[in-house]
Each structure stands twice: as structure tokens, then as C-alpha cells.
């Protein structure tokens, strides 16, 4: 079996009925999809299979042989966040962070599908099956709506940081 995970083609050696979640986490060491309830109930294992959000805990790897898989790792880099990741970061949409990978992946698919600003009802529909214990969902909904409107980057209420001065080590005995 073969999978293209975040743009890299991978040969898969796990047994065919292994859940995709465990193939990603244990065989390929892609650990952003979390093993939450493992019953399809909490949503934190969500990955994109050929662009569609799917529960990787309920998906046998053989059923998606040859597919393109995108996880959180494939969306952005720490220094170059994707719009949804940036919005989550800037708007405090994560607390413990366990649900965040699934939320971000599903929200990315929603915004891609819509291709423009998403409304509150659409976020509720798309993320309704994702469980969050910490945030009360408020800032997550705000972040997804902001990301779909391109409202990321430096916000007005944040002070501008100046140019980083070169770090000197003063007072050296030399």
C-alpha cells in the first residue's frame, strides 16, 4: 500500500485493517492526529483524505490506499502558519490543544470548500462533531470566521514590535 502524506509518498507496511490514525502516528510518526475517543465521536483524529475531512480512527488504511493525506503538519510551519493556524494562534482558540489538530484541519477544509467568508452556522455545521473541553468553542468559531475573511496577521490592538537589536554579550573580560 502507498499513501502520500503531506506531499511525501510513503510505503505502508501495517496490516490492511489498521486504522489510518495508527498508521500515521505509529508507523509514520505523524503525531498531530490525536487518539481521542477512537470511536469517531470527538474529532481530534480528523485528517484530510484527498481534501475531505475524515475520522482517521475509523478508516482502515487499505480503504484509502493511494490517497493523499493531509494532516496539521502539512498545513503550515511554525514560522509560516496557515491562515487557520494563524487565526487560532492570534485569537487564543486553543487552550490544552488536544482538539486543535482536528479543528484546524476541518476548518481548513470548510474554508477551501466555501472559497470565501464562512458564516457562523456553517462553522457550527462543519465543526459540530468536534469536541472541545476547554475553550467553550467561542474563540474557535471566531478564529475560523476570521481566517475565512483573511483577518490574520498583526492586529490593531497589538503593539508594534520594533526591529530586533543584535544580541551583544557585554562586559566580556577580554
Amino acid at each position: 500500500m502507498k499513501l502520500t502524506v503531506n506531499g511525501i509518498e510513503q510505503e505502508i507496511f501495517s496490516p490492511p485493517l489498521t486504522p489510518l490514525l495508527h498508521v500515521l502516528r505509529d508507523e509514520l510518526d505523524v503525531t498531530s492526529p490525536k487518539a481521542g475517543c477512537q470511536q469517531g465521536g470527538c474529532g481530534t483524529c480528523t485528517v484530510l483524505i484527498d481534501g475531505e475531512p475524515r475520522r482517521s480512527c475509523l478508516t482502515a488504511v487499505a480503504a484509502v490506499d493511494g490517497s493523499e493525506i493531509t494532516t496539521l503538519e502539512g498545513l503550515g510551519e511554525p514560522e509560516q502558519l496557515s491562515p487557520v493556524q494563524a487565526a487560532f494562534h492570534e485569537r487564543y482558540a486553543a487552550q490544552c490543544g488536544f482538539c486543535t489538530p482536528g479543528m484546524v484541519v476541518a476548518a481548513t477544509a470548510l474554508i477551501e470548500r466555501k472559497g470565501g467568508p464562512v458564516e457562523r452556522d456553517e462553522v457550527l455545521e462543519a465543526l459540530g462533531g468536534h469536541y472541545c473541553r476547554c475553550t467553550g468553542y467561542v474563540k474557535i468559531v471566531d478564529a475560523v470566521m476570521a481566517a475565512s475573511r483573511g483577518q490574520t496577521g498583526a492586529r490593531e490592538d497589538e503593539p508594534e514590535t520594533g526591529e530586533e537589536a543584535p544580541v551583544m554579550i557585554p562586559g566580556s573580560p577580554a
Binding site: 465521536g41 487552550q95 459540530g128 467553550g136 468553542y137 557585554p170
Partner: protein, 366 residues
């Protein structure tokens, strides 16, 4: 058979941390030779944002920019001791530990700066990463230079440590009584709930929660709001759906899997109206009290009073599941004992006043 609207409210008070000693948090702070600040604090950030808040406290207490400060609480082996992240104590007790440690570091910085500038320590202050002579701002030295001088010229590691701990109380030997301030800092909160109760199905929907929290000082208002919002949804679950043992103490119908425990999902999210009140505490860091565990306490009683307002029955056990609401409605409609209509409602009954506290009649000795 109809839907009824109701509004209820509840108020709570919340003591911060465990009180009367035995609940320490420790912190240790050191300065790198380039003036950057490393903080080793025992408090664990579980997502509530204590790292951010402690960084703010240290930056303010030291007088350095926020991004000079690095929190290291990556393991509990090398970190200072902290009893734990619970009881809303992270900002109040853990925050006090880092504040006190930062104040000691500040003293050492000023001592060394005083040698470098040849100015008395009492005439120096720290502002935005620089030690400045009071009233003569042109005489100053950057904290990086102070830290460098300490490291390379004076052979000193600028550091400070502290434990935030409520001291033991004195025991009065003659009476055995203990005089203790009952609490370190009490936070207060109020919650108003608007509900719709369906008297046919027993279903309760919370439409809106107005929540007012006195947090002493909101060191980071966005994080405070995050706690209030998260607490609202937890409180909503405690009030309406979340139940591990529905027929406690019988284990019958106990949830055996994730889907059997009904925590609120996105669709249950009511309209939230949050208000933060600052009522500073003398004991807290910069006046802060607490907003952690208290954030999910006021919603269940507010929902219960709102149900009473809507349909006139008290649900006395939480969560107010449809089953319990229907039971309460049924009991109100059909008050029967042995098939007869016997009405006792402790909320409306007026108990007979006894002249001697219910001890019995006078003069009835045989």
C-alpha cells in the same frame, strides 16, 4: 403542553487555593549574561495560560520587556515545587512566587547597577530594561550590561527564588483555638441564565448566560475571558447533561464509553455575555485573585432557578435531565400519598414556631 421561558440567577464565592498553609508554590529566576531572564516555576500550564500570565508578572515586576522572559516549566524534576494546577491557584499563589522571586532579582540588579553607576541603590529604578537614576534619566545602564558585569566582572549569578506560602497560624494554648484568616482572597461571581423548558419532553435549552466575574485584577483579559467561556460550557454540561452515574449509587446505565458521557458540543453553545470586574486583592500579584475552577460553579444553580421560574418546579439534583424535569412536573401535578391527595412542599410550607426549639411541651413529666 408548551414551551416556557424562565430566567434565573446564582451567585458564588470562591476561595483561592488551599488555605491555612501547606499549599506552596516556588519559583527561581536567573539572569543570563545578556540580560535575558529565565524563570523556573513549578506551576504547570495545562492550557489555561499560566505561562503567559507568569511571564507578564515577571516582566512587570522586573521592569523588562515581555519577550526577554522565558518560562521553563518543562519538567517537575528540575522545577521548583508547586502543589499543583488546581483550586484557581495558578495566578494567585504561583504568580506570587514568581513576583517575589522577580523582586529579589530586581534588588540584585539594582545593587550591581549601583556599583557600575556609582549611585546609591535607593536612587535607582528599573524601566523597560534599563536601570535609571531617579531624576537624572541620562544616567543609566542597560540590564544586559548589568548582567554582563555581574557575570564577568563581579563573578555573580544574578538570581532570586521565592516560595509563596500562607504561614502557619498561631494556636492559643489556653483555648486550643486557632486564629486564622479564613481565606487568602475570595473571588465572587454571578450568573444569569435564560432557559426554555418544554413541559412535554422535559428538555431544557439554555439560550443565554450573562456572567460576571470579580477576578481581582485581569492580568490578561483575553485569557480570563477564555476561562469564563470554557467554564460556561462546563457549567452548562454540569447543569443539563453530564452525568457519570445517572442512578447513583447504582452503577446502572453508567456510561461505558465516550459517547455515553454527554458534554456540551458546539450546537449547545448559548449566547454568552461576559463581564470582568476588577476588585483588587491586597495579597495577589498586582491585585489578581482567581478565575479557574470557579468559572463553572454558578451555571448549574442559575439554570435550576431559571427552570423554577419557567415551570414552577425545583430540580434538586443536577444535571437537570429531561427525566428529572418531567418527574418534578409530575410530582407537582399529582401530589398523592396512599392514593390520596396530600400536599407537602417544603418551599411553601410555614413551619409551626416552637417556644423551646422543638424539645417538647413544658410540664409533661410523668
Amino acid at each position: 403542553m408548551a414551551k416556557h421561558r424562565g430566567r434565573g440567577f446564582a451567585t458564588i464565592e470562591y476561595p483561592t487555593g488551599m488555605n491555612q498553609n501547606g499549599d506552596p508554590s516556588q519559583a527561581w529566576i536567573k539572569l543570563k549574561p545578556d540580560g535575558r531572564v529565565d524563570v523556573f516555576s513549578g506551576t504547570v500550564d495545562i492550557g489555561q495560560g499560566s505561562k503567559t500570565v507568569h511571564t507578564q508578572i515577571v516582566a512587570d515586576a522586573l521592569g523588562v520587556p515581555y519577550d526577554w522572559v522565558t518560562m521553563d516549566n518543562t519538567n517537575t524534576d528540575s522545577s521548583a515545587v508547586c502543589t499543583g494546577t488546581f483550586a484557581s491557584r495558578g495566578t494567585f499563589i504561583g504568580g506570587n512566587a514568581v513576583r517575589l522571586a522577580a523582586e529579589r532579582v530586581r534588588e540584585r540588579i539594582i545593587d550591581i547597577a549601583s556599583k557600575e553607576l556609582e549611585i546609591d541603590p535607593s536612587d535607582l529604578e528599573i524601566e523597560n530594561g534599563e536601570v535609571i537614576a531617579k531624576g537624572a534619566p541620562q544616567k543609566k545602564i542597560g540590564i544586559p550590561d548589568v548582567a554582563g558585569a555581574a557575570t564577568y566582572n563581579y563573578g555573580e549569578l544574578i538570581s532570586g527564588s521565592s516560595t509563596a506560602l500562607k504561614p502557619f497560624a498561631d494556636v492559643d494554648d489556653s483555648t486550643g483555638q486557632v486564629e486564622i484568616e479564613p481565606h487568602s482572597a475570595i473571588s465572587y461571581a454571578a450568573c444569569v441564565a435564560d432557559v426554555v423548558v418544554d413541559d412535554e419532553t422535559g428538555e431544557v435549552v439554555v439560550e443565554k448566560l450573562v456572567q460576571v466575574y470579580d477576578v481581582g485584577r485581569a492580568i490578561n483579559p483575553t485569557l480570563v475571558e477564555g476561562q469564563i467561556e470554557g467554564g460556561a460550557i462546563m457549567g452548562l454540561g454540569l447543569g443539563l447533561t453530564e452525568n457519570s452515574y445517572p442512578y447513583y449509587p447504582s452503577p446502572e446505565n453508567r456510561g461505558g464509553e465516550f459517547g455515553a458521557y454527554l458534554g456540551p458540543a458546539l450546537h449547545d453553545l448559548p449566547e454568552l455575555d461576559n463581564v470582568i470586574i476588577e476588585n483588587p486583592s491586597e495579597d495577589g500579584p498586582f491585585g489578581a485573585k482567581a478565575i479557574g475552577e470557579m468559572a463553572n460553579n454558578a451555571q448549574p444553580p442559575a439554570i435550576a432557578t431559571a427552570i423554577f421560574d419557567a415551570v414552577g418546579v425545583w430540580v434538586t439534583e443536577m444535571p437537570a435531565t429531561p427525566e428529572r424535569v418531567l418527574e418534578a412536573l409530575e410530582a407537582k401535578r399529582e401530589p398523592r400519598r396512599d392514593g390520596k391527595r396530600v400536599i407537602f412542599d417544603e418551599h411553601i410550607s410555614v413551619r409551626t414556631v416552637s417556644s423551646n426549639g422543638g424539645e417538647g411541651f413544658l410540664g409533661v413529666d410523668a
